[in-house]
Symmetry: C2
Subunit: 508 residues, 2 copies
């Protein structure tokens, strides 16, 4: 090859880069269209629409898969492997390459079989949960474990299959680090919760007992969103059976649900989803459809929701501003003080068996149980038939409670019926990351506490935008956290946070 030809090839690299960007924009746009269909399915669709919706979603998914794994994608990635790229371009190519390599490694027949297994498993799980009949679900769980092991083997036959599956949800954190963090949570929290159980502290938990009509709770949720700064011109609030967030930097919608006996639950869940929505709404608009306009993975996403839910929503400062709003909607709580609200919203439910109803301490032990079980299932160290007993033993060991039924035990969550193994840890990683990010924001923003108490969230929002949202998937998780906080990702900030907060609350 002459020197001239070599120079030409370098000069041509941007063409391949632009061509690759066009392709990724197209497949991500198909993905975002599918996201709208998914939102509609959970929020608006009449029941009868299921067969058409399944067909629409599977068609879009297969079109997207064909685009990702198209030979041309591979050819462009090969061409770009040695190209002279800027750091940003290299990051974009890194993200596309990861998606391509995973998608290309797995035969489409296996993807379809997993999808079909999920449909059947989902129905079986719903029935099994209703009937408290683990045996009816066991064959589906068995099938999913087998298929997922097969899936992981296609991607990398030489690595721990659980680690490979975990990377589907969090590709940038190592399993080793994740296991360390979860072990640290377990070691910190198990004795704390024991101590809380023994504590004589008398929290003001009765203040928010009573009946709180749904309509008033909805008006309250809207006020909460207005207060924290949700842009209703780029989003919506609706009701769904499981709260979730869906959308992109132009239109990102949240849902919530209401329990007439638990108005704090809706407040927490609404602010949680707001945190997710702010992340998506903060992604750069001009990068829509490219990796720079897509969020980093699940643990970073969860860090944003937990930061708003726990570090803002469950703070004394927030309730100084929010309690009068709450009382406008529910005058029956007019006698409540900020301290009452703070205590009620931070009560530790040490006897609760249900993950989605857990407080911010016990939550992680619910996760650790699931993590240890799904890891052992996928690694072949645990048989499906033994799941209920191991589940119950671990609850007893970590939380000091034992489920009496599998419905409120190992059948409570939907994730395994979707064939999702490796998802659960991202919830805890996100909480841990939230503490570290909030610590950094607090140290960089003057009087953040006073600003929150005054309902002024602009600086916090700007800090999160600048340090997290606006980078899209530019940095891998560790680098993102280290750039934002100046420290490597660790559980230290979280541990300090819970020890200080709950030490004070429960006189530990």
């Amino acid at each position: 090859m002459t020197a001239e030809a070599a120079a030409d090839e370098t000069a041509e690299a941007p063409d391949a880069y632009e061509a690759l960007l066009d392709r990724v924009r197209r497949w991500n746009t198909v993905g975002s269209a599918a996201g709208v269909l998914g939102w509609d399915q959970q929020v608006m669709m009449p029941e009868g629409g299921t067969p058409a919706r399944s067909k629409q979603l599977s068609t879009l998914s297969s079109i997207r898969h064909d685009m990702v794994t198209d030979d041309e994608t591979g050819a462009l990635l090969t061409e770009l492997a040695d190209a002279d790229l800027t750091d940003e371009q290299a990051a974009v190519v890194r993200e596309i390459r990861r998606d391509y390599e995973r998608a290309d490694a797995v035969p489409v027949e296996l993807v379809e079989e997993i999808s079909e297994t999920s449909s059947e498993a989902l129905q079986a799980w719903e029935a099994a949960k209703a009937d408290d009949d683990f045996e009816a679900f066991a064959p589906h769980l068995e099938k999913h474990v087998e298929l997922q092991r097969e899936y992981a083997e296609h991607i990398d036959p030489d690595r721990d299959p659980y680690e490979v599956l975990f990377e589907e949800f969090e590709p940038c954190l190592s399993m080793e680090r994740t296991e360390e963090i979860l072990a640290e949570l377990r070691e910190t929290l198990v004795p704390m919760i024991d101590a809380i159980r023994e504590s004589d502290a008398d929290l003001a938990v009765d203040t928010f007992e009573g009946t709180f009509p749904e309509d008033d709770q909805e008006a309250l949720a809207r006020d909460a969103l207005e207060l924290v700064g949700y842009d209703f011109d780029r989003g919506r609030l609706d009701v769904s059976s499981h709260p979730f967030t869906a959308g992109n930097q132009f239109d990102c919608r949240v849902t919530t649900r209401f329990d007439e006996s638990d108005p704090l639950g809706a407040v927490g869940s609404t602010i949680h989803e707001f945190g997710h929505a702010q992340y998506n709404l903060g992604l750069p608009q001009e990068q829509f459809g490219t990796p720079l306009g897509e969020s980093r993975d699940l643990s970073v996403h969860e860090s944003q929701s937990r930061l708003w839910e726990n570090h803002v929503g469950r703070s004394r400062a927030f309730w100084e501003r929010f309690l009068p709003v709450f009382q406008e909607h529910f005058p029956q709580t007019d006698d409540a003080t900020v301290e009452d609200a703070y205590q009620a919203f931070n009560q530790v439910h040490e006897d609760n068996l249900i993950r989605v109803e857990a407080d911010e301490l016990t939550y992680h032990l619910h996760i650790v149980v699931r993590f240890e079980i799904e890891r052992d299932l996928v690694r072949g160290d645990l048989a499906v038939e033994d799941v209920p007993e191991v589940w119950n033993d671990k609850y007893e060991q970590y939380l000091g409670i034992r489920p009496e039924t599998d419905s409120e035990g190992c059948l409570q969550d939907i994730h395994w019926s979707h064939g999702n193994f490796g998802y659960f840890p991202t919830y805890s990683l996100g909480s841990v990351m939230a503490a570290q990010l909030f610590d950094a924001a607090e140290s960089e923003i003057d009087d953040l506490d006073a600003k929150i108490a005054a309902g002024d969230f602009d600086d916090l929002q700007a800090w999160l935008n600048e340090n997290v949202h606006e980078h899209g998937a530019r940095y891998e998780t560790n680098e993102l956290v280290e750039r934002a906080t100046g420290e490597p990702f660790s559980a230290d900030a979280f541990t300090d946070y819970v020890e200080s907060k709950y030490g004070e609350l429960y006189d530990l």
Copy 2:
């Protein structure tokens, strides 16, 4: 070729047919996914979502176009051209071939240019309508006319371009027949409306004057839908600025709008959209995505909405059943009789300038004006700059009224800003077809009038299912009408219907 080889080729035809069906199912499923995004855009989407939604819709549209015009589609159609097919298979191939040939004939650049022109024209039209400034819209209209002529020329350079464009919306009725029918409507209706203007008849039009709150109107609209048999498990009722219907045989949703001074408007529009929805919901579910599971074209679709709106909703029989429901929601009308409601709902608004507010008589003269103008524009017989004057002259000539502004004249409708020329006639063709179909249904169903008065719509629904809905696009329009009614498609039934109904109402 040996006889054996020939036999083999015949035997292989079904393979190509199945392959073609797989393809069409896939592209129609993409189309139906886009339909959900379109519904969401008009009913649910926050304003800020527009850029992402435009991108999603144009991506899906381009994916669909690529699938339709793929060489493989052409190859399968060529293979099937001489294949031994059943009548039903031949009909399916006929429908796919028509779509393929049109899509394949038009360069994708032109499709994109039309789409971009529409976005700009739409904005310009909105401003021009608000400012009563036709000149600001004229260049966009000019551009659309040129592009549409070019579009038609790509499809068939030897035929009347307006006819070619009309076939986009109604491919199965000839322009000649359409022109005859519209001329017949003009000749029947112009003198009738003159006579009505001169009539001394004193209709009970004051009965439904007053204020009718939106919430109550919405409850009424839901009751109306329940009464006529809308299946809310396969649909929804929402509000949008322009009422429309969107969906398929599993999930077909209607919208309506409310004017607090005009509760009958919402009743009419809701029943109209119900008629559209029943057509889609009546398509065979197992044929989802194939031409046998898609509706026939726009005039047949409009026949279903008009049949329910006019022949059911505007009948005395319907109001015998519905008036008490109406009065439950609006006790202020307790003194109204069925005859009052009938007269109020069938009042001819001979001084109304706005198409969407027209009654079932003057409506068609609004259409004739648009038809004659758009036809002449596309044929090159009328200059864009002359549209306002010609519009006003024709209103004076056919309706005896003259718009004072272009906002309530030639700028009132959105269609031309989308570049849609040839759409308007389908509204009138649908009304005419509705009358012919309803006539046939009446002659085949015992005591249909009494059944309607009793709120029993089962037989009518079954007749429409059997004669229209369940065939999908199996028959072309003329054949569908002739099979359903025993007569060729004509305006006779419509003419008889309006002469008898309005002759009695206005003592003509």
